[in-house]
Amino acid sequence: MEKKTELYDRHVALGARIVPFAGYLLPVMYEKTGVIAEHLAVRKAAGLFDVSHMGEVRYKGKDALANLNRLLSNDFTGMYDGQARYSPMLNENGGFIDDLIVYKKSDNDYMVVVNAANRSKDVEWMLSNLSGDVEFSDISDSISQIAIQGPASREIIKRLTPEDKIPQKYYSAIFNSSVGGFPCILSRTGYTGEFGYEIYTMNENAVNIWDILLDSAKGDGLVPCGLGARDTLRLEAAMPLYGHEMDENTTPGETGLMFAVKMNKPFFVGKSALEEKGEPTRIRVGLKALGKGIIREKQTIYIGDTVIGVSTSGTFCPWLNGSYAMAIVDKKYSVPGTRVYADIRGRKTEAEIVALPFYSNAK
């Protein structure tokens, strides 16, 4: 039985098409708009997303930082209060258990945001790796998350939040912020490749914040957006998604995320496996379809008759107005400009390897 988010009744009233996703009932799109209009609204104006399914956990105590630095591949030393940092969480073989974002609230107090679909496995892994003086808690069920993404979100938030409570830097947050007077964590992050904010709040404030945002921004072109647009936006921005560009058998090198792996740290889970494996022989690339059809996930990629890899996700990208995909291919063939073929259900369609990201305007 799927859970409803605090905003479920709002979605139904707004004409959402509801689907089960990661244990929650969430809007995939709204009948009035649809995926393409919602996607374009985020690129041109702003979109509002209910992402309350995301998981949040907390590390508190004098060994909180040491725990994160041992468990995760990125380095969280020296972060300022409110700073956010992306990281893989690896297994002993160097494969992904999940990818996540760590926020420093203050010394000895961190919040970690994880993928909804991985939450229970993540929590189990985190608990089994705890050491020293740290208090760990899964606070997901008491927190709702709303994302407002798009160029107009800057003005919309400016009207609803005191100026000194608006985070200025990309990948930073203000923990004691508010929207329309309702307390929240306001974060300059997102999953769309666009300027925007993510808002974490206690469940009881979620409906109020959602309503205030929608009501106050009618003239700004703000539209509610579903998971469909969330996926096309993240793909257009070439942001990796767990279960697609990464899984327990993919390493950070293969999916192009070594910027978040600090091999100079004395230890982190998965480090010795990565050292043993050495340089990866396959790598994530971007594909732009040149022929007809849309490259989807799990389609074989060829050069001539040679299989060079497989697509990990792909769709029609509304802003770029074309079919784009990501794939993990043999490094030898990963140079932008290389012509390849994707097997689209038995039909070979020509594609070109292109640089990632396809689109970015987030900073």
């Binding site: 995939v28 799109m29 649809g34 995926v35 393409i36 996607h39 469909g228 996926d231 096309t232 007809k292 059809g293 849309i294 989807r296 769709t315 029609f316 509304p318 079919s323 259900r345 039909r347």
Partner: protein
Amino acid sequence: MNINTECLYSKSHEWVRIENDTAYIGITDYAQNQLGDIVFVGLPVVGDKVSTSDAYSDVESVKAVSDVYSPVDGTISEVNTQLESDPALLNTDPYGTWIAKLTDISSTDGLMTPAEYEEYCAAL
């Protein structure tokens, strides 16, 4: 939901309209609504033989790809090349936008009348 009174319908939400000896085939309003924004239509080739049991086209929306079946057997005599540049016509005008025309068509036995199709959709 919109149902065209001049068409006959299949359970997989395709329509056929017979004019003289030619069948015009396409997808229904229900189908386009389920698919959402359509961004690509894989068209068949003129001369191809189609049967009710084989997909003759595929229609892709942003999120999904869906096979399209013909409500009748026949031979493709023309394809709607407008769909190559404007696939969203299937969303905006599903009954005015045929995907292909067929000749040498089989009987329409077993297809639903507009009233039957309306009832069928209402029960889904």
